[in-house]
Symmetry: C2
Subunit: 157 residues, 2 copies
DNA sequence: AAGGCTATTGAAAATCATTTTCGCTATTGA
DNA sequence: TCAATAGCGAAAATGATTTTCAATAGCCTT
């Protein structure tokens, strides 16, 4: 799922979640706040999947259902608060959305699954020029590089 | 699934499939040939998912099971004949693998799902320099741009 | 502050793509 | 030619995500 193009992507301010939700007819709930908190307390650019969110909330004593997690993630993607990533292997990851020109990209080890982030302004430029030249309105772009990380290379001989 | 980095990606020659398969201990079967034929008869860079492969083979009077399709796709990805794409929406697409420096990338309309391809050598350069600077051995990279296509923009007003 | 409308929740069932199991068949290499 | 076993199809299993539904809670109006 991709964000609604008409909506701004504001976050970082405390207690803004309610405002952003209500502006679009969604309701503020403690579950949505707790999920967003997880992303905001993690390192910027750290990505989580539904399973990890569920586990982290359990660890801090919060009980929440998977349906609620998935619904909250979809809403926050639509509001531009989160970005959905297709890293690999059949599940979706989410991370805090960042302003377009600061988007980072991913280097995935296909052996151990480890993911490193990197930034490169070229991506946004190419994505932007490519989409405007074809009349697309740009939402976001993902550059994912697949390879084998140094430690897996030595393991594999 | 990503290709085995040690293996070359040869295709286009007729009857090469058997050779490539046997070289790695896999067996040549008519089902695998038919699947590869679909990709080779389609426009270069055209991507297909398992469902579409199954349907196209049914349309031409061939009966094949989904398990066989999935197994064949995995084998051909491992052999470097096909490349697996994570375009969007929970299913995997496959296309003929191309030499690394000629890889193309995708512009996806998140509204109608239409996908356009484009080439840009910058991607491969960035992917390559990024992975070598971190000691990764590079397999491939995917640049996916999400937006809304012109016709959907007018539909949405 | 109270009340109604309805979005949201949790639990369980349902989906959907993909993977695995298993008995049978077909390909490869000797 | 023939045995060993990779691959096949059908059906069951899996795993992530989505939907259903009755109960609850947030938001708006009064």
């Amino acid at each position: 799922m991709q964000p609604d193009p008409a909506l701004p992507n504001l976050n970082q301010e405390p207690e803004l979640l309610k405002t952003v939700l209500n502006k679009e007819g969604f309701r503020f709930t403690s579950q949505r706040q707790k999920i967003l908190d997880l992303f905001q307390s993690a390192a910027l650019g750290h990505h989580l999947n539904a399973e990890e969110i569920h586990q982290q909330l359990l660890d801090q004593g919060e009980k929440i259902s998977f349906s609620t997690i998935y619904r909250a993630l979809h809403v926050m993607v639509r509001l531009g608060l989160l970005q959905e990533l297709e890293l690999a292997e059949g599940r979706k990851y989410y991370e805090l959305n960042t302003p377009f020109m600061e988007q980072h990209h991913h280097l995935v080890c296909v052996h151990c699954g480890n993911v490193e982030e990197f930034e490169d302004a070229t991506m946004s430029q190419v994505g932007s020029s490519e989409s405007t030249s074809r009349g697309f309105s740009l939402l976001n772009c993902q550059f994912t590089v697949y390879g084998i990380c140094p430690s897996c290379q030595s393991l594999l001989g």
